[in-house]
Symmetry: D3
Subunit: 236 residues, 6 copies
């Protein structure tokens, strides 16, 4: 079987997204992100090219706004104040307060997220390739865990007010096995930590990962692979 | 006037304390801190020498525990679950969940704190020299601000659920001007962010900063300097 | 369902393994790894504690050998000269020439691997959380690809003499769809790049990742999950 | 009391100024600063926007000059050859040979300053948040010191030809208690080390730090705070 | 003797070339080099200014291509598939697959080269100032070595399939003392490792290094210096 | 011709010496070097093994002294106060105030040197592989220069009070062409910048760099090579 070799220009609108690093150091007090200088997503979640916004240049991270356009609101946000809607397949939702939402974070190497979980909700196994995450339980109870590269699961049930560490780059998850909603605040040592969700990465990429890779990886047949693909197709 | 030149061995028990950096990267999955490998404070806040604890070696950060001593509790803590006591001069208290309390954070470059404020309470102007801080308001309302090296104050009133960014190394403060208690969760991009509180640094160090430095710095007389020294002396 | 909470000391022998970073810089010409200073695996692949080898200390990376024990062979190896055996479930084998095998690489931030593939062989989807990989095809032909965090598959068929880049932290794979063996040389910007193989991470960890996490993640039933677990159980 | 919340555009002309880091590494031999690419101060010390100078882009640090505009003078300067005027309140003056004056330093992570002191002159307590400083006494004698985060003052009298280290981010000062002028050369591990002078940061920022923050911080009354403010107002 | 002081604009076309670092971390998945954003060489090896190619900006490393222009071929190359011509004075040739040839390597901190050697061929003593190199022998046999800053030569004869480490910044060489051609693949932990070849640096720079520097350095007369200069003049 | 392959234990006493990096960040206020924790030179310049001094451990950089042994003198030195003797072949001498002499510099990433030059004296071409150097002329006049990897010499005559930048890793030199002595103070962004002097590296290493490497490198005969070797032999 041959790969359907993908050329970017055909379906380019979903490419460059997240971050991968303990970020390089800043070289001045502030370098508030000029959000038109990088690629991103619009309010509807569609990918947009910065070149539609700016005639100039895209760099590692973001260029700096002119000082005349910097405002105290660049350093603040109320985006994490309210729970997000968990009315979806996984019963969980991540709301990011990263450099894309709080431009004052540019070059400063830290960001926050809020995660809400319905009863039974799951934040499915994923990695933040270059950031460690520390969660603080705002409400409820969660079963959380990470797996080391030696395939050891480190897991615990954590309650309101407790914290838990997910080391940089390791696969981890949180599951609300209680009957009431739960919520955490997450801290990352990156301005844009990025997320690679394992199941959708393998079963819902565009173009598709070849079936013969997936059947050999999971030691199952094409039928099972197609079943998972169809069920995750609408979760992208 | 001559400085009272200080030689460490005389009063050594209060020396090495906090962190100063966007931390270097880790070189394995985990390197759980062997807390006996660095200097620190005991449960009563007294400084202790690691050499009283360990016959071996102190390094930049902490050495790693033997794998046989690593436990899931190294990655978790409930130290931030309850408000700390704000019954003190400033009406505020910082509780740190850094590598000294959560040894699994060693080499991972991130940590959390909780800050509680009585009505009228102040977290006085201070720096975290090598970490940016992002606060999330758990309860109440705070007037917060930081000052750039160009002497511009960037300030805002933030309410429950809002976040605010204090860029790396800049002097900042939080003041609860409301009638009810307030609390924030703070995220730092360092395993041990360190704090240099401005007033106590200048007016309550041991040995004392010479009076002729302080009078010239603040353009006041010795009497005013002595007054501030006496009032801050018991706040250490 | 409750997690079977794992405490390390019970099954500790498989913990600390791989690397996660663009490594910190060196502070002298050479710091040849004293391999007894870190945790590792013995010749049979069993995990060993450094404390059985050394009375002293484990640090981020490895401590340095005494100069009197440094030898030119610390900087060389023939471990990559011969193909490894591909007689296993995936039909592929990775042979690493990292700091654990070439102690002179300690603090220098680079390493090599050789990967051999039987006809039909697969190096299944995995991440190297803190290293980019560049492969050079020594023999044969491979279908290779990586998936971005925006779920775009970037893939290509590469032939003898061609190179391909797998960016830091992103899930990637190589599949030999030809009728003859293939082999690549891989370069990494880390002294110990680490590997988290997706399928075995989720379906063959110890203790097990809970079934209700896996069924919800892949949107299948317990039966399918158990089937994959049993087939991958012997592949660890 | 409410903060006078500051919005940048109103008084924007004094914002972004100094540096905060052990700088990121360079990616080519030279990247001579295009000084029109960042914000800065003009010859009269007034803040200028790069957008008045350049139609293009501001980044972390500075963009690189075109090779055709690079000259040997970009790597040299005589700005430190002569003592600066110490005819001011503090009796001291800092002359910086950083990237703003020596554009060849861009991306190279080091810079120099010269500090001159009148008899009795003081370089008042300040921080360089992301650079360590090492001074070499060119002339005279100085009483110097830094305070650790554990509030220990480390101080010494140093004479011509002696050096002294001020660790990264810690508050430090130099006082000329002799009857003759003094001068030092300072080395920093940053291309633009930045300075946050404690007294002017707290008592002479724009807008003002609220009085109730300052009275509580120093445990004095509003009268004393206003007195210090008025005396430092003209020292900005 | 006075130096012929060089001003860049006169002969500017050969200036900025190679890299000097364990590169800073990336801040998003991909930042494919827009090769028109930096200075470089054209297909004939002539230096070209980016300003002839692009109206915009040059940064540390390269700016990022617009996502719409990114293609799978940015991550691949067959430039190393065939031996280069060794028909030159030294009997060796280096072919680089760095960011200038594989733009997808931008911000990712790693690259490859291939070196071919005629019988008797020499890759003369040189440094890669900010990258460690690891070679893998593709064909033949080589005598290789590096010299530490304590002037110790570490050398070995390596054969097909063997690897050897040349630590960051140290002078090293490879010599084919066999009767058949040899070839290696080299891995570097930098996107553009750079090369400073010792003999041509000293004896074939433009303008010339002054004769009185070279005679004193090598403790020989002007005649010997001129002889070496003339023989290396055509090797640039 | 075969290399005389060197095994370290035979002549080990001259191995590990200098530094190679923009140093990693510190993780606490201070980590004063325990100089017995690394390899070094004794007062007579003989290499000593740390294992003769300490029963414990050698790490990247140095381990930290116990707080009880830290003293203000760890942060100061008068080693640069007096000119060194220039009564040698090159007519110049470098005196380093690096971490080996000022242990308080450990983890802080900066150091100083003083260089003295007799009339006609030369600091011969050399590299500091991972530090940029900035010199400040204390006395006299110097002709200084560096060569880029594109073989461009950037040179200038500098006088008392002037500064000049030598970018990281590039070959550079200073020559006193005047009739009076000269002296500079040098700043480096590394705690131990290291020096690889080109001529002695190639012509005076132990064991020797093979003659057939040197004759081919400089395009001269064995006679000339042997002549240079004999003249530099006593300069080590």
């Amino acid at each position: 079987m041959k790969l359907a070799h993908f050329f970017f220009p055909v379906t380019l609108a979903i490419l460059l997204a997240t971050t991968f690093s303990s970020d390089p150091d800043s070289l001045q007090d502030l370098c508030v992100a000029d959000l038109s200088s990088g690629d991103g997503y619009d309010a509807q979640g569609h990918y947009i090219l910065h070149h539609a916004l700016s005639p100039c240049v895209s760099v590692n991270g973001f260029t700096c706004k002119a000082a005349s356009k910097v405002n105290v609101t660049d350093f603040s946000s109320n985006i994490l104040a309210k729970p997000g809607s968990t009315n979806n397949t996984f019963g969980s939702v991540v709301t990011g307060a990263n450099v894309q939402k709080v431009p004052g974070l540019n070059t400063l190497g830290v960001s926050l997220s809020r995660i809400d979980y319905a009863p039974g909700g799951l934040n499915p196994p994923h990695t933040h390739p270059r950031a460690t995450e520390v969660v603080f339980v705002l409400e409820g109870q969660l079963d959380v865990g990470f797996i080391t590269t030696a395939n050891v699961l480190i897991s615990k049930t954590i309650n309101k007010g407790e914290i838990f560490v997910f080391p940089k780059g390791l696969v981890h998850f949180q599951k609300n096995n209680a009957n009431v909603p739960a919520a955490v605040l997450s801290a990352f040592n990156s301005q844009l930590p990025g997320t690679q969700s394992i199941a959708t990465t393998l079963f819902a990429a565009t173009p598709s990962v070849p079936d013969n890779v997936l059947t050999k990886t999971f030691q199952v047949g094409t039928k099972e692979v197609e079943k998972i693909k169809s069920r995750l197709a609408t979760k992208k």
